[in-house]
Chain length 772, copies 2
């Protein structure tokens, strides 16, 4: 551990010597993920990103400017058609209400704080909305013409500072307003945010600062305080504050309830007069918000900050390189990279909860979504970032008692299913990530597995007592089916780390629990002509009453997946599950049926692995069919290009892996091979090495989607899977494609717990992954 | 021919000696289909029928009372939500406008004529609509409470007469109105009906008669005249007629344009006073309409007419018997039988176009829909009815020049695709139906194949010149792809009949054309990873410009089907088509993909055969999967129980065959075996024999949906198909079912033109099917 800490301190000193380009990067503390590799890229990848991909059809992707993992995500907040304030932050239609500084991406139900809006003409506090035209969103840059006011708005940002530029028309009544009571999804329903009160202080004719307090939102988190410091490049002719609907000359205003509050800087503007504003955000203090401005954006050069943001993105985007892709694929994949790296939020130095030298990340929204593909992607291509994220999870455990399943607004909640941070830790562990205190991580995992939480919606494992006593969660707890399936896999993750750390007793204990998913398997339950499904048990152990058709499952037995999805979810032991389902042939028929009947839903994460499960039954050709179909059917490079909520980039990372033709078994050192859609693609591995995937004979029509043969680093690869150890020092996977299924990949399935080589810690091939 | 005619005359004399029960049956001329087997059934099957199945979600099934194939279909016409008059005749919501006498089933866009409606209180001619409650529809019976007027309405019918009974409340202003200007879907669009004018004559205080003239509608037919005669059991205190919005004491009214016209019989009613009305319909004259009433419904006994209608239906419904079915299956299948037998309409004796002693049927709406399953069903279980229908088609050819592809309102039109009456004739021919002049039928088929029609929307083969000169229809004609595929199959039908009739020269000619479908096969066209598809050719023979994504095909290249559906449509030569598609394995993958990607649409007839095509590639297990899925997914016993337009019963007959586990290859003497869903089912064959299908080991869950072995009449049946000759004298097919695919049915595919045994007429096994 101390070694890791010193590394951070050392790196910080390096960082402080960097120039203006890096002022937008993390300035305080220990989060230094991108520093090692920061060199000015010679290629600009950012033009491949279209931030609008996924904004429609519920993709919920962020519109505005942010650096990778940026704390500040500045963008427009919208009024929706029906007059309600959007809970989503952005819609293709609707009026703009202003530009606020905190947003999610691929998620909704939180933030939208500190809303800045220009106005010309009479200032109507309750009606500032304006249509917009000429909307532009590029990496680190947003612009629109606000037609009601004839103002052009431009935004860029550094990690904790939003940079606004407004070009006004000639007007004797020009205003720059700051609304500190605003937030997205305010209201009274149980998932709504609530505004609790705020302060605003006009410390000069071009400065405002204060704090705004909120509570609730999707994660039902506790109070979060947003400190802000706003500074303008042009002194105002007059300033006013408001509370309620009353403007006042007072320089200070405070409300302790939901009363509107804000301020306006008033000007007489000439035609095309630009007024700029920098708004620093902090979760510590208004003073720190001011420091953030001074450190990150010391000058008034919009272009410099925009260029710095682009440079940081180029460093991240350069980790993917493509050859032979089409335009749509290029736009989709780089936009996916962008979307993956908007979340979680790097709040290092901005943790109001406790003092620590560890990195601090927030907006795990939520790990239940991201552990399956986003985490393995970062483990592969951004191991230092993933190290920091996991260190942050461990630090949250230290100070809150649990690693979160979800967290936002500096508070844990709301759990979706299992304690899937366990899998995130195991994924990093079995892939050999350095710089993580795996002993403490292990303690956190065991805590998850042994200590029932007071509020299972907030953190920890709901129904844990049942699970640990009976081997399954009963109907006494919600989501009993998905929890049982996921806890079994979480326990597998714990067993892996126990093995690697030499804790043989714990390894044996948690290994024994990895089979618990089978305790809910009713071998006689028959649905749609298939026999054997997960079925709820009552608290007394008896099977629940017969299947009731409510969204294809018992009410609240599974979460975001039906009986088909969860009954084939056991990545730790697909061999056993296939035996339960009747053997390879019956399992293949069941999978066929699952896809044929649309039981597979790529927009919900529990189904993410379904297409590649054919590999476990010797039918990688069918994996190819489904992956190929899903990519073609569900993803495009348009505003509706993501088929559902991007879920903090989970969908986007699924897209990246699936387009490249591999799929990670999260939490295991295993990747499955599906079908590449691009002739030649590489991923940087964070150690200067690359993993390259070459698909020979690929055609643009998807005809040659079947792997005929494969080599890895020139050596014949007969299997439709490989291990992380085989690529971690750089590798080239060459797949020869053809128009018909072949014998390739049909013999040796990917590893399962029931396989001989999973029976002991020694054989788990974890010997190289000891803790530091 | 003369022999057939004498048979009819003989039968007529038998018919005339039958009693009151048969007064509802055809009374004039030669249509005697049901007479031979009319005996009072001991079992009432009619309670298994729910006429409401299919009324929602566009099933368009008829609501009201009709006998099998009845000319009069009396039922409610509805106002829709938005105030428009429904084009569909019925909706679950909306006000009732009255009860009219002509309707379609599983179709829309025609009729709704001679609208009778009771009214109490002031008579507002432009607002007679009323909500209803307590709606009941049973076989031959409809009832509803009309809440605005507090009148209970009941309906029953014979072939050409609607019988109304209205129970009034106490009222000094009770009216029974007859609106002769009414029709469904009036308007100005190109598919609208138009009212041209009418006469009404009040010949007494309880009688009205006249004619109403209409034109257009879905089939864009010429003018049709509906003659009517209305008689009431209660003399009115006063009568009035109206034209426009003006009521008058005049006993006669005439309009020669679209002016409203009608009459009212006015009463003072006591509480619960019943007033009954009989309305005879004729297409010949008002006098004949009156005779129809006198012959079919001589008395005022509503119950007798209702019982007669039920008896006729029981005769038809008794042709299906089920054992071990569940309630839903029973309701679905008998309702399907009912829906199949509502169309076409037996108008024997009511043909205004020409005098003939042949049967006369109308409302082929359209044969393009029904030739695939409805015709083979009738050929099997109602051969005498099918004989009459085909005789009618031949007679229409004699007098209009073409057998229709569609016909309604006594006029041919509007063609959908090929001249599929050819297949209907061949289906009857190869299955040995007697009493049909196949020489004239053959002349009609050749006429279809050789003489381009003046208006291909009305009748005949569009693009025929191209087709016969080049071997394919070019893009110069609409629906070039579907027409080419269908003409190829139509020509196969002609070749079959030519063979059977000993016309070897014609057999050779039309045999050679059966391969024309392959002339549009572009072996290099690749879509979604599959190679080889039908592709349009320009008039100069070159391939059309690349695939444009408009509903999955080129605009107007295919009709009600996409490139996937039509590119695997060649029932005459699946062997050749499978070779084009790359062989059995590739074909199975293509079919898998077709279903996976939802290119299969059971609601459009071109896809009807897709599920059973696996049988041609040795995979009857996959046929079982898809049939099983489609039944479960698409059909229920509810108002929304038919997944799309019933298309005159085409969907319903697909449902019957698919539930029983067999499927006819229309126009061939071949049935394919899919997967039965009922343990024991029999179909009467019209000759006193039955075809029984026994499924051993069937479970209610669809688990044992795979045939393991089969016997036909006790003899091992290794193939997943059999010939009509094997069952025509009665047969029992025993299928032993199991939970996993077996080797059964995988070796010898169903016959194809490219098979050796299709190469000569002698080998077509048609030797028993010589013409009379």
């Amino acid at each position: 551990m101390m070694q890791g800490k010193m590394q951070f301190i050392l790196r910080r000193s390096i960082q402080l010597s960097l120039g203006a380009l890096l002022l937008a990067a993390p300035m305080t503390g220990q989060s230094v993920s991108t520093q090692k590799t920061v060199t000015k890229p010679t290629v600009d990848y950012t033009h491949n990103v279209d931030p609008f991909i996924g904004v429609d059809w519920g993709g919920n992707t962020f519109v505005g400017s942010a650096i990778p993992y940026g704390l500040v995500k500045i963008g427009p907040d919208m009024e929706t058609f029906d007059g309600r304030r959007s809970g989503f932050g952005y819609s293709s239609n609707g009026n703009i209400l202003g530009f606020s500084h905190l947003h999610l991406s691929g998620a909704q139900g939180k933030y939208g704080n500190i809303l800045v809006a220009p106005v010309t003409g009479p200032l109507k506090l309750d009606d500032i909305r304006t249509p917009r035209t000429d909307e532009v969103n590029q990496v680190g840059y947003y612009a629109a013409k606000l037609t009601r006011y004839q103002v052009k708005a431009e935004l860029t940002s550094s990690r904790r500072v939003g940079f606004h530029r407004y070009v006004f028309p000639a007007s004797k009544q020009s205003h720059l307003t700051i609304n500190v009571a605003a937030a997205l999804g305010l209201g009274n329903d149980w998932q709504a945010q609530k505004f609790l009160g705020a302060e605003i202080h006009l410390t000069s004719n071009h400065e405002a600062q204060g704090v705004a307090r909120f509570i609730g939102g999707w994660n039902r988190g506790g109070e979060y305080k947003v400190y802000y410091y706003m500074v303008l490049d042009t002194p105002a002719e007059a300033t006013q504050t408001w509370t309620g609907s009353t403007l006042s000359d007072a320089k200070d205003a405070t409300v302790g309830n939901s009363t509107p509050i804000g301020a306006t800087f008033d000007y007489t503007t000439k035609a095309n007069q630009a007024i700029q504003a920098k708004v620093g955000i902090s979760f510590i203090s208004a003073e720190q918000a001011k420091q953030n401005v001074q450190q990150e954006v010391p000058a008034w050069n919009f272009a410099t900050i925009h260029a710095a943001a682009k440079a940081l993105w180029n460093t991240e985007l350069a980790k993917l390189s493509l050859t032979g892709e089409n335009d749509s694929q290029r736009h989709q994949l780089y936009s996916a990279m962008y979307h993956v790296m908007l979340m979680p939020t790097d709040r290092t130095g901005e943790n109001p909860g406790w003092k620590s030298n560890e990195p601090y990340y927030d907006d795990f929204y939520c790990i239940w979504d991201t552990f399956r593909t986003s985490s393995p992607l970062l483990t592969m291509i951004s191991p230092d970032r993933q190290r920091d994220i996991i260190r942050s999870l461990i630090d949250i455990y230290r100070h809150t008692g649990y690693m979160p399943d979800a967290r936002s607004g500096n508070d844990n909640g709301r759990t979706q299913g299992g304690s899937n941070a366990n899998v995130v830790v195991a994924d990093a562990f079995v892939k050999g990530l350095k710089g993580i205190d795996f002993e403490t991580a292990f303690a956190a995992m065991v805590h998850d597995a042994e200590v029932p939480p007071a509020d299972p919606q907030k953190q920890g494992r709901g129904g844990l007592k049942d699970y640990n006593q009976k081997g399954y969660v009963t109907l006494a707890s919600e989501r009993a089916g998905s929890r049982t399936a996921e806890y079994s896999y979480d326990d597998f993750a714990i067993a892996e780390v126990a093995c690697g750390l030499g804790k043989t007793k714990e390894a044996a204990l948690y290994s024994s629990r990895t089979h618990n998913f089978a305790n809910l398997w009713d071998k006689d339950m028959t649905v749609e002509g298939f026999r054997g499904f997960m079925r709820p048990r009552n608290p007394d152990g008896s099977w629940a009453a017969p299947y009731v058709v409510v969204r294809g499952t018992w009410p609240d037995f599974f979460y975001e997946g039906d009986i088909w999805t969860y009954s084939i979810y056991a990545p730790q032991d697909m061999r056993r599950l296939i035996e339960l389902a009747g053997g390879n042939e019956a399992f293949v028929r069941r999978l066929d049926w699952t896809f044929l009947r649309r039981h597979f839903d790529v927009t919900n994460e529990p189904g993410f692995m379904l297409p590649v499960l054919y590999n476990y039954a010797g039918r990688p050709d069918k994996t190819a069919d489904i992956v190929h179909m899903t990519l073609e059917k569900a993803f495009t490079d348009t505003r509706a290009g993501i088929p559902g909520n991007d879920d903090s980039g989970a969908m986007s990372s699924w897209l990246i892996f699936s387009t490249l033709g591999i799929f990670p078994v999260a939490g295991q050192d295993v990747y499955l091979i599906s079908t590449p859609s691009i002739p030649d693609a590489s991923l940087s591995l964070g150690n200067g090495k690359k993993f390259r995937i070459v698909a020979k004979n690929l055609d643009g029509d998807g005809l040659n989607r079947y792997v005929q043969s494969a080599t890895l680093n020139g050596v014949d690869l007969p299997n439709a899977w490989f291990r992380h150890a085989q690529i971690k020092d750089g590798a080239t996977l060459v797949l020869t494609m053809g128009p018909a299924p072949s014998a390739w990949g049909t013999v040796t399935p990917p590893p399962s717990m029931s396989d001989a080589d999973f029976h002991s810690c020694v054989d788990w091939k974890l010997q190289n992954h000891a803790s530091e």
